[in-house]
């Protein structure tokens, strides 16, 4: 492995509280089913503790031990899903959706904005200041508000070049803009507000 691995990982109190709840969802003897949520908790904890949300090998071992499963079964799961970072990443994980609807709606601009504003060379790169890591992801399932940039777990929608740059600058300043549409769209309603069902009488009218 080309990156430094921590030699120790233990779940903290926050994580342990969540784990207890999750493991209890599964019948006795089927605890291994909780492997995905536990990996996610481990990744979150790493984010809290080090500012880089990734799952080191020792964390996978901790998950295996907690769920009484062979470590290799955890490695298999953790390496299968790209949502688990097996290498250290930046403080903010910029995930550009490049699937067809987003691409048609200008995801190339979003990508360009990420590169310019985040000082990133391309997909897989982490910026020098350790703030941003750029990834390409497949459809995030919010095509109505394409194009989309997912920052960690938050979706920023209806982006264009300028708004993406503004978003990244805000992140750099330590702000966390409100997730969702960046043009004030109400959920997935048409731009500028609803076009139909204006005249539905309110209940009781």
């Amino acid at each position: 492995m080309s990156h430094p691995e921590p030699d120790h990982f233990a779940f903290d109190a926050d994580s342990n509280a969540q784990i207890e709840k999750i493991v209890a969802r599964y019948p006795e003897g089927k605890q291994a089913s909780a492997v995905i949520p536990l990996l996610y908790i481990a990744q979150k904890q790493m984010g809290r503790a080090t500012g880089s949300a990734w799952v080191p090998r020792v964390a996978m071992d901790a998950v295996a031990e907690r769920l009484s499963m062979p470590p290799i079964r955890v490695y298999e799961v953790a390496t299968f899903y790209f949502m688990f970072n097996t290498k250290p990443i930046g403080r903010f994980h910029l995930q550009v959706c490049g699937t067809t609807p987003c691409w048609l709606r200008g995801s190339d601009d979003v990508l360009r904005a990420c590169k310019d504003a985040g000082h990133l060379k391309g997909y897989g790169d982490t910026s020098q200041d350790g703030l941003f890591t750029l990834s390409e992801v497949e459809c995030l399932g919010a095509c109505v508000n394409a194009p989309i940039l997912a920052v960690d777990d938050d979706f920023y929608e209806d982006l264009d070049y300028d708004r993406t740059v503004a978003l990244i600058e805000a992140l750099r300043r330590g702000e966390r803009p409100q997730p969702g549409s960046t043009i004030g769209r109400q959920t997935s309603a048409p731009e500028g507000g609803p076009l139909v069902l204006h005249d539905v009488p309110a209940a009781g009218e």
Binding site: R57, A64, E65, S68, M69, P70, P71, I72, R73, Y75, E76, T79, F80, Y81, F82
Partner: protein, 684 residues
């Protein structure tokens, strides 16, 4: 039962069988890579596609259950095209380096590509390359050749019980490996080579050594543990090139332990290839005549009770009988084959046999293991217990050191006091009592101690008390360590009337001691004045003490009979000739006996075998075990009391347990890598 028609042939198969099994029942060969009848079904290689009537597309027969009245077609244009397509995809990333691949000539992919492959590739893009993994000193990996059938992953997890292999990453980047580099900890790892359908996992010691068609194949029996694994010795000229398991459902199914498979390079090293005689305190090369003369001179005129003989762990039944007869001719009853000092009472066969039979494990529903590290003493047998456990409802209790058996066990205690509690009907005894077919496995190591006779008697009494001894089920089992031990016991190679046991022969209590491959005890215990004759194949510690060395043949170098722990007599055949002037052991004894006027009454192997069949019933019918069931419940006698020392592992180092392994460089490397440290407990 379901009636299925395969290519017009009607067969009946059990409900729940797969289409592939139905096709096999109809005698149709279905190509496959991922399917293996002893592993779970993965269904990922897609090579076994067949057409089923009214199914819209070809189905993977290995993972498709049969239905009554189903019509299956295994050789239609659709099927052939589908398989050709699968083969083309498999070959896209396969390197096609057959000329430098050790699997070449015995490769499933190579064979099936002859049937379904194209003569050229349409693929013009870059092939993927996978970095080779280190998985230990026995297995060489060339992972670019891997077709990701996951047989190895399933074998490691299911049969071996050491889930260390897995498929990491995804899609194009998926790789088989351990993720974190480590040597596999299984004692059955060599089987990964056999089940790998391509050349991704090959034998490291056998790398670039030979092609399968150059090898002469000889059926034999693995003597390096007491399971009696059926093996095939592949030799070229005067050398053993490799050893592979054969199928024997009743014994080893198709698996084999690593020590038997990989320690054969020890057959070429430290060999005794000529007679030696000690002159003026130093061993000097001699001729057979000189060696015989030296022995005859010493033995002549000695009273019978001053002569003794000890048989080793890897000896064949023929030579044991010949030595016994020779000792009888000298009037000596000082015989012993229990080098470890195990308090075995050889007067009744079922007191020292694995009476339930190895196949009997499949029927057991509760198991008590006493003082045996089954995993390291008999890895293949342990896999059988694991297989039984994985089918469910097998409770295993262990009295002895806590180790990883590869299946969950309840450790009841570590010493004999736990046996007393069990005999009193406490704790796990209830589980055994409730079982229909309870089994007790007593490790030979547990009785190789001062209170051994008491442990043996107590173990038998526990078996009796929990109802393991029934007319139709014999649940008392002793697990021996090596392939020559039971044969010698069957032949009664133990002290006769007034004879001395091994301990009593030590320290100068006899004047001449004939060691037949006996390397299992410290030769310093032999009295300084005792004249020692060592007859065997390896120059180990006992040979260094000898006054006369008679070079014998190893198990690959003679036609011989071995008895496994069940009491199953099996014949091994000569694969290569013994080196130099070494000879088959029974012939040495026969030749010597003639020279001293005590000619043994057999001139040929056939005559000797006829005498064997008379001497012990198990030699009369080969490859069969004595009738199961116990009618006489008399326990073996004991005149000692149970001690308090906890049971310890009988074989300190798995890889260096016998004289052939101790001469093997491969095993030495394994021992240095795996050391004495117990592998990490499998979390399961």
């Amino acid at each position: 039962m379901a009636k299925v028609t395969v290519d017009g042939i009607e067969v009946e198969v059990p409900n729940g069988a797969t289409v592939l099994q139905a096709c096999e029942a109809a005698g149709k060969e279905i190509p496959r890579f991922c399917y293996h009848e002893r592993l779970s079904i993965a269904g990922n290689c897609r090579m076994c596609l067949v057409e089923v009537e009214r199914a819209p597309k070809p189905v993977a027969s290995c993972a498709y259950p049969v239905a009554d009245g189903m019509k299956v077609f295994t050789d239609t244009p659709v099927v052939r095209n589908a398989r050709r397509g699968v083969m083309e995809f498999l070959l896209i990333n396969h390197p096609l380096d057959c000329p430098i691949c050790d699997q070449g000539g015995e490769c499933d992919l190579q064979d099936q590509a002859m049937g379904y492959g194209m003569d050229h590739s349409r693929y013009r893009e870059e092939k993927r390359v996978v970095k080779d993994k280190y998985v230990g000193p026995l297995i060489k990996t060339i992972m670019t050749r891997c077709i990701q059938c996951t047989r190895c992953v399933r074998f490691a997890a299911e049969v071996a019980g050491t889930p260390e292999l897995g498929g990491t990453n995804r899609g194009e980047n998926m790789e088989i490996g351990t993720y974190v580099e480590k040597a596999l900890t299984s004692e059955l790892s060599g089987n990964l080579i056999d089940i790998c359908p391509v050349g991704a996992l090959t034998s490291r010691p056998y790398a670039f050594v030979s092609r399968p068609w150059e090898l002469r194949k000889t059926d034999s029996i693995d003597v390096q543990d007491a399971v009696g694994t059926a093996i095939r010795v592949d030799s070229r000229g005067p050398e053993v090139m490799r050893i592979l398991p054969r199928v024997n459902e009743a014994v080893n199914e198709e698996w084999m332990a690593d020590r038997g498979r990989f320690s054969f390079d020890g057959l070429k090293r430290k060999r005794l290839d000529r007679p030696w005689v000690r002159r003026d305190g130093k061993l000097a090369p001699a001729t057979w005549a000189e060696a015989f003369a030296a022995i005859a001179k010493k033995l002549e005129g000695l009273p019978g009770d001053r002569i003794g003989a000890i048989a080793g762990d890897l000896v064949d039944a023929e030579s044991v009988l010949a030595l016994k007869d020779l000792m009888a001719a000298y009037g000596s009853a000082n015989l012993d084959c229990r080098q470890d000092g195990a308090a075995i009472d050889a007067s009744r066969g079922d007191w020292f046999r694995f009476n339930s039979g190895i196949a009997g494990i499949d029927e057991a529903d509760a198991l008590l293991i006493i003082g045996s590290d089954v995993r390291r003493e008999a890895p293949v047998l342990n896999a059988r217990i694991r297989k039984r456990w994985s089918l469910g409802k097998l409770k295993v209790g262990v009295v002895g050191p806590k180790t990883d058996f590869t299946y969950p066990v309840k450790v009841l205690g570590e010493g004999p006091e736990t046996l007393t509690a069990l005999l009193a009907g406490q704790g796990f005894a209830e589980v055994l009592k409730d079982a229909q077919r309870p089994m007790v496995i007593l490790g030979r190591g547990a009785i190789a101690r001062p209170d051994g006779a008491a442990v043996l008697a107590t173990a038998w009494q526990i078996a009796e008390a929990v109802g393991a001894l029934k007319p139709d089920w014999h649940g008392f089992n002793m697990l021996h360590h090596f392939g020559g031990q039971v044969g010698a016991l069957e032949l009664g190679f133990v002290p006769g009337q007034g004879g001395k046991a091994l301990g009593a022969m030590m320290g100068g209590n006899i004047d001449a001691l004939w060691l037949l491959g006996a390397d299992g005890f410290d030769p310093a215990r032999i009295g300084a004045e005792t004249f020692v004759i060592y007859q065997g194949h390896h120059g180990d510690r006992a040979a260094a003490r000898a006054d006369v060395i008679l070079p014998g043949a190893a198990y690959t170098e003679k036609d011989a009979t071995y008895v496994n722990t069940e009491g199953r007599a099996q014949q091994a055949f000569l694969a290569i000739h013994p080196p130099g002037e070494a000879r088959e052991d029974w012939r040495i004894l026969r030749a010597y006996s003639e020279g001293v006027g005590k000619t043994l009454p057999y001139d040929s192997l056939a005559q000797l075998r006829a005498r064997l069949a008379q001497a012990a019933p198990c030699f009369a019918t080969l490859d069969a075990i004595p009738a199961s069931g116990c009618t006489d419940m008399t326990a073996p006698a004991s005149n000692v009391a149970l001690g308090s020392a906890p049971f310890v592992a009988a074989l300190p180092s798995y890889h260096l347990a016998d004289t052939i392994a101790r001469a093997s460089e491969v095993m030495a490397e394994c021992a240095s890598i795996y050391g004495g440290a117990a592998p990490r407990l499998a979390a399961e």
